[in-house]
């Protein structure tokens, strides 16, 4: 299993969630986060924004589905400008459902 954490633009988050739900990946967790990237924030006229609001989407899936999910996120969150976000994939050893106390997704 893999955990996918995608940091996307707040205005693109709902589009990404809808696209994932259409492909059958309904369950996910959404966090509001603040971050910055290689451009060290953004300069708008005279105001300099050091940290920018983003939305982090977190979902866990079977390893063979990860490339499909990443493709969906990349396609829907893309605008071509700086600040589109990043996707991180990390390993997950075990998953449990609390309601049934069963192992697995």
């Amino acid at each position: 299993m893999k955990m996918i954490r995608a940091i996307v633009r707040p205005d693109k988050a709902e589009e990404v969630v809808d696209a994932l739900a259409e492909s059958g990946y309904v369950a996910l967790t959404k966090l509001d986060v603040i971050g910055r990237g290689k451009q060290k924030g953004i300069q708008v006229d005279e105001i300099y924004y050091d940290e920018l609001p983003k939305v982090m989407l977190m979902l866990v899936s079977e390893s063979e589905n990860t490339s499909g999910i990443i493709q969906i996120i990349n396609d829907t969150a893309f605008t071509g400008n700086f600040g589109d976000g990043k996707v991180f994939v990390s390993p997950v050893d075990e998953a449990y459902t609390v309601r049934t106390r069963s192992k697995g997704l």
Binding site: V17, D93, E94, V98, R99
Partner: protein, 122 residues
């Protein structure tokens, strides 16, 4: 070392903390998050009295459900104990009890002393 990420109901956080504290795992990070899964309403989580039959018939259309996400780092041999404790406290049998994920962690460092590895998390 393993990282245990548990997404649970917000109203279970206090009992979960208390139980983990008595077991000797007081350190954790808690975050308010929004989640979506099978649960579509929070009628089962309000504090006032609700007709029990309504819990089953009410499907709901909420897009996101407020949840708490706990993150705690434990050494390999404690994983099953902590997972079992969290599951026992949080199981209600209704949809929306949450998920627990266990993932490997390569390194941990305590900032105050510079200790690393298992020493940093105990």
């Amino acid at each position: 070392m393993k990282e245990i990420t548990a997404i649970i109901r917000p109203n279970k956080i206090n009992t979960t903390k208390k139980v983990l504290d008595t077991l000797g795992f007081p350190a954790m990070t808690a975050q308010r998050v929004l989640g979506r899964g099978k649960q579509k309403a929070i009628i089962g989580e309000v504090t006032m009295d609700i007709d029990k039959t309504k819990l089953h018939e009410k499907e709901g259309t909420m897009r996101y459900i407020p949840k708490r996400m706990l993150t705690l780092l434990v050494s390999d041999q404690d994983v099953s104990l902590v997972v079992e404790a969290i599951m026992r406290v949080n199981q209600t049998g209704q949809k929306g009890d949450g998920r627990i994920f266990v993932s490997p962690i390569e390194e941990a460092i305590r900032v105050r002393t510079g200790e690393n590895g298992d020493k940093a998390i105990t």
